[in-house]
Symmetry: C2
């Protein structure tokens, strides 16, 4: 279904009720995140529902991530209306509609179009828009700018310093974020651009990042992709089909605090630069030792195939088959009290640095029920052999509220 | 066919003869650039032949463009062996093979792999690698570094200044270039990275640019895509099926000078920043006046559909229906002595600037039989209404030699 066809359907009344506000008649599948839809550009994911799309829904091929800061002098009403306006526009775009009823070409020719138009006639491409709230929304520089301080999730703190951190504020933090994913980058860029336009005067982009070639699988139907080091990544990721793991490790539960965040999740995003040229000069055997897996199949060095459970006790003579500081060992749930996270990262290439080296790496994105899960895992990686070849240059944490209800908006429970 | 399957075919001898050099037995279709292959990730384009692929072959969805400078102290032999090594690796990769016979995982585990591995198991994705030679190869700072000065195409000069130029040397020039296109960005990045690695010590990346969402169609089967201003772009492009136009406007003819460039073309690449937020505040009617076309259908304002020939004489009262400074009028062949070029540009988004605005635009790429075609057209655009919303920040010109012959390499005629 192209955008034009969906617009036709809208004109015929099928989703016409969304005009003027997110309203009820749209049929929302009872459960998000359980699909293993085949990859393809006609995928459409529901925007309304208990959880925001873009977390447990199948990971798409392209990302445009943008962190925003609220404008100086912005008010609590600005925050609320922005979240409402974003939700309305995101709902429309993710369902294949233009950003407003008049869109790119159906408005008064004597005013600027509501929609910028570069996604006209493109398929929906599985677009998801996931909205996050940063610590700055609750308190910044000791000031509770929006009267939301008492709503602050206690766990929403800046992350502690980690080994390998070389963080730049230009690539860190933000009062709000949009994780926009689609199977076509033009569709993702169109969404970020139009949402940034809607925010004008209330919030502006602080940093943003394009990504491609997802580095994780989120459904059993997807192949495990490779990161820019050439290794399969995300073999043991939490999958959309694993409802129990999602409930245990990803979704904030009704009994967790704060109550307004139930059904939501914590988002960690880290821009991880790879020292590509140094890595490329590492011997194959050493590369495999560092990861603890084979490069070809992604199988643990202790044997088997990609999905074989690593045998961390296996020895060859005195030496462990999987090095004591191998990435797979340090990151594995069995060495971290069973802790897991849902990863949803993307590769990036930002051209090259002045020395002619690729400016490239991984925009790591993970979702977890509590920040502590990420902190514990990242601390466990402090002696990771991989650290010699990577550098964390950006970092941000957001809370991602539950999905919008019919007639509501993302973040509505924050103001309730 | 995945890379692995092609490797299997290679092992079985079908293309085994390429190991050790680009050799003869591979069947090369007699004509490149005539296909209108459906978009899809299994496309494979021949590397050998009368013309390099990536010009008249169907335009893919993603681009990684890289300009290189030869190292200080590099010799003529370095240039020749680099072009030979690049051709060998590009041949292999475009046919779905790893960069060498041992590739990412089949070499001695005690040495670094020849291939970086991130494209393992990915489909060929229509990969093309198009190699260009910059003016610096023939003369730089008055010095003929490589004894190639007498081979310099007289037309290979820096472009004259144009209205709207705000060129930065960081985004301009280069002794060599690689235009790498594929339907999967990871496949394109993999090719640039491995070719940069092969160049190590001889040449290094000077500037590079990722692009997406091609802005031109090059076959009748492709839809006309939209640029980031939301307008269809490339409606009147030269198509692969139009052999006569390719011969007249794109390929350097046998009778042209220099003779070693016959079958090649001139490549112009311009990084054109769009003042996105300013453009988005322009009234729809004014946007259409600026382009001279409707936003929805891309039809000329004088009437008809996208492919209707504009009627530049049409008037409404005293005023021309298509403004005297509309983009379509100034750029149209009928107002430029019939001159045409083959466009093959891509949209880009490089994050945002410090003011929260998208750093985005068009990496304009065109191929033409002579630089004069581009210069004349660009001069004609000096009063273009569009100029208020764009800024040319990068510029480079290259000659693109004919395709490699069996057993030869791209650029072989330069050394003959």
């Amino acid at each position: 279904m192209t955008r034009r066809q969906v617009l036709g359907a809208a004109a015929a009344g099928a989703v016409g009720a969304v005009l003027g506000g997110i309203a009820g008649p749209l049929i929302v599948p009872p459960l998000l995140g359980t699909g293993s839809a085949p990859e393809g550009s006609s995928n459409v994911y529901p925007f309304l529902g208990p959880h925001q799309a873009g977390i447990a829904t199948p990971v798409q091929d392209h990302l445009h991530f943008a962190a925003f800061d609220m404008a100086d002098g912005a008010t609590r009403a600005d925050v609320e209306t922005l979240l409402r306006d974003w939700s309305y526009a995101a709902f429309r775009m993710t369902q294949g509609l233009a950003v407003s009823a008049t869109g790119a070409v159906d408005g008064d020719p004597q005013v600027p179009p509501d929609d910028t138009g570069e996604a006209l006639d493109l398929p929906v491409s599985g677009l998801t828009v996931t909205i996050g709230l940063g610590a700055g929304l609750f308190e910044k520089g000791g000031v509770d700018r929006f009267g939301l301080g008492d709503r602050r999730p206690p766990a929403l703190e800046r992350l502690p310093p980690f080994v390998g951190d070389a963080l730049k504020t230009d690539w860190s933090h933000g009062d709000l974020c949009l994780q926009v994913c689609a199977d076509d980058p033009q569709v993702a860029v169109h969404a970020v651009r139009n949402l940034a336009r809607i925010a004008f005067g209330r919030a502006a982009i602080r940093w943003s990042q394009m990504g491609f070639g997802r580095t994780s699988k989120t459904t059993t139907a997807q192949q495990t992709p490779r990161n820019l080091m050439g290794f399969k990544d995300g073999t043991n990721n939490i999958l959309a089909e694993d409802r129990a793991a999602l409930d245990e490790f990803v979704w904030v539960a009704d009994r967790d605090q704060p109550a307004w965040l139930a059904g939501g999740s914590y988002l960690v995003v880290r821009k991880i630069e790879m020292l590509i040229e140094a890595w490329d000069r590492v011997r194959l055997a050493e590369q495999e030792t560092i990861f603890g897996r084979t490069k070809r199949a992604g199988a643990p060095l202790s044997g088997g195939g990609e999905f074989t459970v690593p045998d961390f006790g296996a020895h060859a003579g005195d030496a462990p088959v999987i090095d004591g500081a191998a990435h797979v060992r340090l990151a594995h749930p069995s060495n971290n009290g069973g802790t897991r996270i849902l990863r949803r990262g993307y590769n990036y290439v930002d051209g090259n640095n002045p020395y002619g080296r690729l400016d490239a790496g991984l925009l790591f994105i993970s979702y977890q029920r509590s920040i502590e899960q990420f902190v514990a895992l990242q601390k466990a990686l402090s002696s990771d052999l991989l650290n010699e070849y990577i550098r964390h240059v950006g970092s941000a944490v957001f809370v991602v509220p539950r999905g919008a209800s019919a007639g509501g908006f993302v973040g509505e429970t924050l103001f309730g």
